[in-house]
Amino acid sequence: MENGKRPKNPLRKRVWRDLLRDWRRNLMIFLMLVVTIGFVSGMYVANHSMMTALDENASKFSREDGHFELSAQADDDLLAAIASGEKADMPAVFRARAYEEAEPEVEKAVREAAEEQVREQVRAAITEQVAQAVDAQLAKAGKALPAEQRQAMLDEALSAAMKENYDKAVQDALTETWKSDAYKDALAEAMQKAKDEIDDKINSEYDELAERYELDETFDAVPVDLYALFYKNAEERLPADSDYQGKIRIYGPRTAVDLYDILSGRAPENDREILIDRMHADNAGIQIGDRLMASGTEFEVVGLVSFTDYITLYESNTDTMFDALTFNVGMVTEEGFARLNRALHYNYAFRYQDPPADLYEEKTYSDHFLKALITQAAVAEKETEIKDYVPAYANHAITFAADDLGSDMAMGGVLLYILTAVLAFISAVTISSSLEKESSVIGTLRASGYTKGELVRYYMSMPLLTVLLAAIVGNVLGYTVFKEVVVGMYYNSYSLPTYTTLWTPEAFIRTTVIPLVLMLIINLVVILRTLRLSPLRFLRHDLKRTRRAKAVRLPRWRFFRRFRLRVFLQNLPNYLMLFVGISFVMLMLSMMVGMPSTLSYYQERMPDMMFAKEQVILSDYRDADGEIIRTETADAEPFSIYSLEYETGQMQEDISVYGLQPESRYIDIGSDPDAIWISQAFADKYHLHEGDSVKLSEKYENTDYTWEISGVYPYDASLAVFMQNDRLNTLFQRKDGAFSGYLTDTGITDIDETDIVSRITSDDMVKVAKQLDHSLGSYMEYFQYVCVIIAAIILYLLTKIIIEKNELPIAMAKILGYEDGEIARLYLIPTGIVVVLTSLISMFIGFEAMKVFWSVMLMKLGGYFAFIVKPEDFVKEFVLVLSAYLLITVFDWFRIKRIPKVLALKNAE
């Protein structure tokens, strides 16, 4: 008997054939995975490369560790003192100064008092001597004069004596007094008393300041290098676009700190040239060679850059959102800077001489340096006020992009995992259906001695291979095509520098290893559950784990309805998958449709939402002459605005506190002098209600305010607190009758522009919505169609399984004489009903989930507007999914039509 060689496992050959046999389904799963893995991989690569570029830029372009602005230019002594990073001994300096100031005054006072006393004593002595002499003279003459005559004689003699002796006597007495110990003691005592008073006063004032800024803490000096980085703010106008109105912050040449990455063009070479931020240039349509007017001064744009301290264009660190649409940053030559006729901002950047090891150390450094800065500014010879202090780690303009890039990555990862899980379940359902179909083959193989492990490996190979191939192709696309897409998205929001594409193991792990593991686990569970059954059960096609004694009893419906219900019950697991899949799509659609809709809703409605069309903010409520600034505008109403902070776990939220007139025509909170109302947006964002207490804090002080909420005012445009103006003035120690400006609907024209700081209109309020819309809006529409494609693919895969499972009964029904249309109705209508119901339910779930997601997102951003989906958006979501279903139904119709009758008459292979 001839024996042969043991062949290689023939099932391996089958894996490839299976892949090809079911090429449509596998291609769909493959393509979906390729696109998702590609996109997420691109996102990781772009993120990683960009984050590395941002990190490296900190040292490459000498990014600041922080900056501060002073009210006046610091002299060399102050700069040296600040740069030392040492805390000034404020009480000692103040004391020495006060003593120095007090000494001559005290001495003068004591001297004057002593002199007065001496004069008094001399006068008394002379008077007494003269009286004695006059009385002695009268006694000698034996005359007794009437009192009046005696007094006249006395006055005459006193006057003569005073004239003759007083000055000399006083002079002599004073000479003696100045020499006397008594005078010295009195002087020392007075001096001590004055010093004690000074000490008490300084100590009590310092204690208050020390408590607020924890100035008593001892720490090592934090020496820094200081760089003057002065700037001027100007109105930006573009001769090429007369409608455009923006702002530009212009710096002088940057040579040592906060340098810039030139993305195109060059640095300015003469006083008429400027380089500006690339992102803003893109948004405003400014190109190299264009002219730009900065408060009337014309410049030619010669370069587009990314400033290392303005990766995100935040005008102020307290702004809710960056604004790359109307805020610009530029740099000119010294001469160009001098040409610009605007107020100077004395801004200084600093870098630690000993770079901090980590963020924790950086925060400690910053705390210590701020204390040094506060004390040094306080003891400065020239009165100097700190107007702004922003350490780099807390500077949104520097950190926001990196933070956002990070959260994008997390979100992309989650989407990939959800989609992979959905696909893994679809693949598992497909395999489960294959196991049923191939039940007798499996039974035979198991009966012949194939182990469970061998069959598990075989059935697992196809889904794993699909993921692996998709991961390879997806990663290649991720590194090439999709990386560019993602980078394009980022360049559309942030002023990012140039970057180099870097390989990241994280992208590989997250887009290849994790999807593979997900696919492995989900499929393994399903396959193992089935393959646990005995070979005999496979041979008997008996794969149900639970055997129903009887079929489910159905109501006495018409035959067709009952038949459809049976189809539904038979395919329950598939419909469950359909539900998960469509819910996933609907969640994404809620975001893709809802987000732009919410943003445009706010932009459109903002003018109506604002309680007054304009808030005119004055620099002071009195003009230069001390007169209260008034207006003839009929609807103008004085109001106050004050800024406090609401501390949350994640951030400090800016809250506007409004002081209003009783029964104000703009925000009527009645006339209760103690009422505290909050805006609807504030209530919604932090889940506050009437009766709750709310605690707000002063920004740079150690003062908190806790109020009970009297009511919620229906105002959605900002986070605000409303109270009577009188109460606001008392609370914040403002003068009686003080106010910040006027609320008006018609606009104010009769107030001198120099007295007006700003006019807040709806444009300012929609800044967040506009910027978000610009950054995300355009992609959302594109992703809406991606969602439809995903929905179509999921529907295709699942309905294919349902029809394949029923091929035999369908063929039999055809033999029995059912028409294709009737059969299609039997098998397609249950799916249609499931799709419609699932869409409706998941639309609701998607909306609710998005609301949660939205509020989490805004927690990080600051500001608030509720997530809104208009009725027509729900219709749109529904129609999008339904159109995907209708498309697939056409496929299914042809699929049913193609099933041959002979199938029912054939053996099972």
Binding site: N3, L445, R446, K452
Partner: protein, 238 residues
């Protein structure tokens, strides 16, 4: 002593029932018999007599409630699931009424699925010739007739040169001529490779080609006969 008379397979007191309580049905009610090595044994009986259940228990894909089975001295009931799989892998070949071929593997590859299980399989080309399938070796199952498909399934079972070939109604779905061809093939395989063949059938005529006939009815053995004047498959008529 002739190998065929020496007990290779021993069945003692084998019982099996399905269901419980009122619905309990005794399928095998205490069977005792032996089968010799290389013997062609036919299990005969009408539907429901328990012959397929007996075959499945012998094949290790079903279990008995009572009794024991010894194959070449090894007790089947002592084996756990893993050992049973190994036992099937090393010692058994299965042929079913339905051919259960893998649709997207060709004839040769389907046979290879059997060969893969053995460390010492038969030469596949040689076997294909024996099976009369050499010219069809690259065809897929759906390009073959029922008889040819059954040949492939026999090839798959026999290629690993099993000690026992279990056949469950292998001609049940075939016409007269094809059935005879298949029986001839099994006979040829039995003679050529000396495997013990246990075949379940309800076709009385097939008993004539067997060395050993066990007739079951209602779960008990009615006859257990050794045939001395057996006919060749070609001579059978029904």
């Amino acid at each position: 002593m002739d190998e065929k008379t020496k007990a290779f397979l021993e069945v003692r007191g084998l019982k099996k029932s399905f269901g419980s309580g009122d619905t309990r049905q005794d399928v095998l009610r205490g069977l005792d018999f032996t089968v010799g090595k290389g013997e062609f044994c036919v299990l005969l009986g009408p539907s429901g007599s328990g012959k397929s259940t007996l075959l499945n228990i012998l094949g290790g894909i079903d279990t008995a409630d009572e009794g024991e089975i010894l194959i070449d001295g090894d007790k089947l009931e002592d084996m756990n699931e893993k050992s049973l799989t190994r036992y099937r892998r090393k010692h058994l070949g299965y042929v079913f009424q339905m051919y259960n071929l893998i649709p997207n593997l060709n004839v040769k590859e389907n046979i290879e699925t059997g060969a893969y299980l053995s460390d010492n399989p038969l030469d596949i080309d040689d076997l294909l010739k024996t099976l009369g399938l050499f010219d069809h070796r690259y065809k897929l199952p759906n390009q073959l007739s029922g008889g040819q498909q059954q040949r492939v399934s026999i090839g798959r079972a026999i290629v690993k040169n099993p000690d026992i070939l279990l056949c469950d109604e292998p001609t049940g779905a075939l016409d007269y001529t094809t059935s005879k061809e298949i029986l001839q093939l099994i006979e040829e395989v039995n003679q050529k490779y000396h495997n013990t063949v246990i075949m379940v059938t309800h076709n009385e005529a097939i008993r004539q080609m067997a060395d050993h006939v066990i007739k079951l009815r209602d779960g008990v053995i009615r006859h257990d006969d050794r045939i001395t004047d057996k006919k060749s498959a070609a001579e059978l008529e029904w």
